[in-house]
């Protein structure tokens, strides 16, 4: 549910990755250099071999040398003026081909979307945000793919490229001009779509209620005097909110469907304000999870409740089993402030409830949460809560606490270690029931970011995907015809979306073997777990698979991991702020693709005879 892939600090990712130092070679920079060098050497050797077959060794050597020297010389003679001219040509071409129809299509999608997207959903913001980001993403990817893949081949087919290449234009100008032109156009379209999406989501979620006056009841204090009122709002947008207000008539409704409303007094009446809190940009401070088994012994994982590949593992109720998160870097600034100046530690948790027996279904399973100092073992008193299955629950721990022996303690002095660590322990209290957790399910809430800015960052992820697609499609179009370039680019992108699976096959980590073995199993309807009997044909099959897997491993090195960009968009839909490190990381990867594809595209176009039909 929550996006939890760990995002390394930008410089660490760039320099050493998850290795200990630069020399471990796990940094993005080293990886990029290795891949670039490999492609360069392969291109050089491949080009020489082709020339060798066609022209003989001396001429092949001469051509290779000239391509290399002239090519790198040309890279430094790129002209922004020419690139800009070619970019504006690409934009004009697209506009005169009525590219704006995409906006009409998008508008139609939004117009009809509200018919099908139910606001009675438990998480309407997530639904709407997922919808608009997915619609924009697929529309823009398709559009940029078609534009970029067909532009250059059409120029070559119509021979309009003759009049361009006979001007002092370098192949690099042509490739970069195309990439820049389509990127500028795509950016403008995407910006319009983003603005429309923002207003659409906000408009669709906007609603208010009135107070159901029949439900109003006075809240009385110990002395019997009225200290406020409680009641329910009217049923609008498929839900009602219970609420309570103070004696003046001010307060907030309870949170339902991830939002609440402010309540204000207007004379004797209580006025319900607009919906608040749908769009969030939570900034989590993540911890490391560990488990205690029913006997209270630390274990790596909890209990499996049946699905062996489950993301979460479970703890048994009414035992010593617990999920324990250890957070680093907790200090005074981590704590938030109430209006009266007192401080509190905001903790959020998602509980996945697994009932081994039905029990009273209307009654929530009870859990407990407490804080502990990992060094001294001092714990705050147990706080019992009803588990909201699969929803983010917030817990505010005031700085002033009492420990399990009822001594007064404070979080900062007694529960946080000197190096800033604190533990959060969650247990299930009902016998025979289970709570399931993954590492990302509990976090300390840092001050939230701006939802609008987070929304922009989400669309920035779509923009980065678009830029990569344009760069890949333009590169393909320098040596392939339009339809073939598009199909190849689509294959590249689809593989990019399933890169992890692709890599699993390449590394032999997936069930069912390599491509040929999988095909044999499919055709013969053979179970993926059943082993083959060793025969010469099976040996041959495995040998071919070995070669194919090697090729797949090589290809996987240059495949863009589009699932990462999907993850970023999920951050927005799930109300989490996209980390700045992640944005920088993605921008760098996109830039690397643009640079890489532009260089490959440049050499492909430079070595291509434009006038050869």
């Amino acid at each position: 549910m929550v996006v939890e892939n760990e995002v390394l600090p930008y410089l660490q990712w760039l320099w050493r990755g998850d290795g200990a130092s630069f020399v471990d070679g796990k940094g993005a920079l080293v990886q990029f250099a290795i891949i670039a060098l490999t492609i360069f050497v392969l291109g050089l050797v491949g080009g020489f071999l082709v020339a060798l077959v066609r022209q003989g060794p001396v001429r092949a050597g001469e051509i290779t040398y000239r391509t290399l020297v002239g090519g790198f010389g040309d890279l430094f003679r790129l002209s922004f003026r020419r690139i800009a001219a070619l970019a504006s040509l690409a934009i004009k071409e697209s506009l005169r081909r009525r590219v704006w129809v995409a906006l009409v299509v998008f508008a139609m999608i939004l117009l009809f979307a509200s018919w099908y997207l139910g606001v009675n959903n438990r998480e309407p913001a997530r639904l709407y945000l997922s919808f608009v980001t997915a619609a924009t993403s697929y529309l823009m990817l398709l559009l940029s793919l078609v534009l970029a893949a067909f532009s250059l081949p059409t120029d070559i087919k119509n021979k309009t490229l003759y009049t361009v290449t006979t001007k002092p234009v370098r192949s690099g100008d042509i490739v970069l001009g195309r990439i820049l032109g389509f990127t500028v156009l795509g950016t403008a379209l995407l910006a319009i779509m983003a603005a429309a999406s923002w207003f659409f989501v906000n408009g669709a979620l906007a609603h208010t209620h009135t107070v159901d006056t029949r439900s109003l009841e006075a809240i009385r204090g110990a002395d019997g005097e009225t200290i406020g009122k409680e009641g329910e709002t009217s049923r609008d947008a498929f839900h009602t909110h219970p609420f309570s207000v103070d004696a003046e008539g001010y307060g907030f409704t309870d949170q339902v469907s991830e939002h609440s409303h402010a309540l204000t007094a207007d004379g004797d009446a209580i006025v319900v304000g607009p919906a608040e809190g749908y769009l969030r940009a939570r900034v989590p401070l993540r911890g490391k999870i560990s488990f205690l088994n029913p006997q209270g012994v630390p274990v790596a994982k909890g209990i499996s409740v049946g699905n062996e590949w489950s993301y979460r593992s479970f703890i048994q109720g009414s035992t010593q089993a617990a999920a324990v998160w250890t957070f680093d870097g907790v200090n005074e600034s981590t704590l938030m402030e109430y209006e009266d100046g007192s401080k509190y530690l905001p903790v959020a948790a998602i509980v996945r409830v697994y009932r081994s027996y039905k029990g009273i279904i209307e009654q929530a399973i009870q859990g407990s949460i407490q804080l502990r100092n990992p060094e001294t073992g001092v714990k705050s008193t147990l706080r019992v809560f009803p588990a909201k299955d699969f929803a983010i629950d917030s817990f505010e721990f005031a700085n002033e606490q009492t420990d399990t022996d009822q001594n007064d303690i404070t979080i900062l002095d007694d529960l946080v270690t000197e190096d800033g660590r604190i533990e959060v322990i969650i247990q299930c209290l009902d016998r025979g029931q289970y709570f399931g957790f993954a590492q990302a399910d509990c976090f300390i809430r840092l001050p939230e970011g701006s939802p609008l800015w987070n929304f922009v960052k989400g669309f920035l992820s779509i923009w980065m995907q678009m830029v990569i697609v344009i760069a890949v499609a333009v590169m393909m179009s320098t040596f392939l015809s339009g339809p073939i370039a598009m199909v190849t680019a689509i294959t590249f992108i689809v593989l990019g979306f399933f890169r992890t699976f692709f890599l699993q096959i390449a590394l032999g980590e997936s069930y069912g073997g390599g491509p040929v073995e999988s095909l044999v199993r499919l055709v013969t309807q053979m179970n993926v777990m059943s082993p083959f009997e060793r025969t010469p044909s099976v040996d041959a099959m495995k040998a071919i698979d070995g070669v194919l897997k090697g090729a797949m491993r090589a290809v996987s090195n240059v495949l863009p991991d589009f699932s990462t960009y999907l993850d970023r968009v999920r951050y927005v839909a799930e109300g989490f702020s996209i980390p700045t490190d992640a944005v920088l990381h993605d921008l760098t990867v996109s830039l690397a693709y643009v640079v890489g594809m532009a260089i490959v595209g440049y050499f492909c176009l430079r070595t291509r005879e434009v006038a050869k039909s």
Binding site: R54, R66, G70, K159, T160, T165, K167, R170
Partner: protein, 313 residues
């Protein structure tokens, strides 16, 4: 054969060859065989030959649109594949391959921006060229609406946007009406007069004969003839005398003189004008005096076409 021109060599080809191959590298056709050629500064050079003779291939090799299989093509002393030579080159392709979605002004602006020309100069040059090629009034129309003749004109304008020293014209008069053809030929001559070098290839022999200083005739990828047009076309053993207003007595006297000196009189007749001249004179006449033209015995000679001079062979 070719050393008569005073200028320095702008184009040099040395054993330039081109073999077209299929995807697998197998030879499909040998389009050009060891072409040795030099084109000098300030001349109009014509490449002649039937379809498939290698003229377009030669032009494309000179422009770097194709790579030579063997030999060398040098333009301004640089390899033809060197992009920097294009700063000094203008090229009008066979079909004016231009972007149909642009209008004339945008077209010239786009091509102008590919050169290092200051914006003001570019703007001035666009104005001048639009007037020169006669499409000033259609400057805002998209090229998709242009006739073939207009497309050739804007094609020529884009070839001249950088004020090139060398202009390569592939079938420059194809698709043009006789007036356009004449104007194109006049422009080519003007360019030569400005000191520019023009290389053109054409099927229309009359056009080549009209404007070219030197020609090369290619056939099946091989150079068959190269030299000055006037010397190539001179018939050594025939003398042509052209005179106006000769009386019959004078003509008879001339016949006698030729006979006395042992010559063979091949022809003494009133020459006919060319259809091109006739057409142009009718059009000019029509422009000067709009209205229905009277066609009668008195006008069959071509209106105010000057009377053709008497020709004696």
């Amino acid at each position: 054969m070719s050393g008569t021109s005073p200028g320095t060599a702008v184009i040099e080809t040395r054993a330039l060859s081109k073999v077209y191959r299929d995807f697998w590298g197998r030879q499909k056709v040998r389009a050009l065989k060891a072409l040795d050629l030099e084109v000098y500064q300030g001349e109009i050079f014509g490449l002649l030959g039937p379809n498939g003779s290698g003229k377009s291939t030669t032009i494309k090799l000179l422009l770097g649109l194709l790579f030579p299989t063997d030999g060398q093509a040098l333009v301004f002393g640089k390899e033809a594949t060197d992009v920097s030579k294009n700063e000094r080159i203008g090229y009008l392709p066979e079909e004016s391959y231009l972007y149909k979605f642009l209008n004339a002004e945008e077209t010239l602006d786009f091509y102008g921006r590919l050169f290092d020309i200051p914006a003001e100069v570019r703007k001035e040059r666009i104005e001048k060229l639009l007037k020169l090629v006669g499409i000033d009034r259609a400057r805002k129309r998209q090229l998709r609406e242009y006739s073939k003749g207009m497309t050739r004109r804007i094609g020529l304008a884009q070839a001249l946007i950088n004020d090139p020293e060398l202009i390569l014209l592939d079938e420059p008069t194809s698709g043009l009406d006789p007036i356009g053809t004449r104007e194109m030929k006049d422009m080519i001559l003007q360019l030569r007069d400005q000191g520019k070098t023009v290389v053109m290839c054409s099927h229309l022999l009359a056009d080549v004969q009209d404007v070219c200083d030197r020609i090369a005739i290619l056939h099946q990828g091989e150079l068959k003839e190269l030299g000055r047009v006037d010397s190539l076309l001179t018939v050594e053993d025939v003398t042509q005398v052209r005179a106006r207003n000769l009386s019959d007595d004078c003509k008879n006297e001339l016949r006698d003189v030729i006979q006395r000196h042992g010559g063979d009189l091949l022809e003494m007749d009133n020459p006919t004008t060319t259809l091109e001249d006739l057409f142009l004179s009718i059009v000019r006449d029509s422009e000067e005096r709009p209205g229905r033209r009277v066609v009668g015995p008195q006008s069959t000679a071509g209106g105010d076409t000057p009377a053709p001079p008497a020709t004696a062979n």
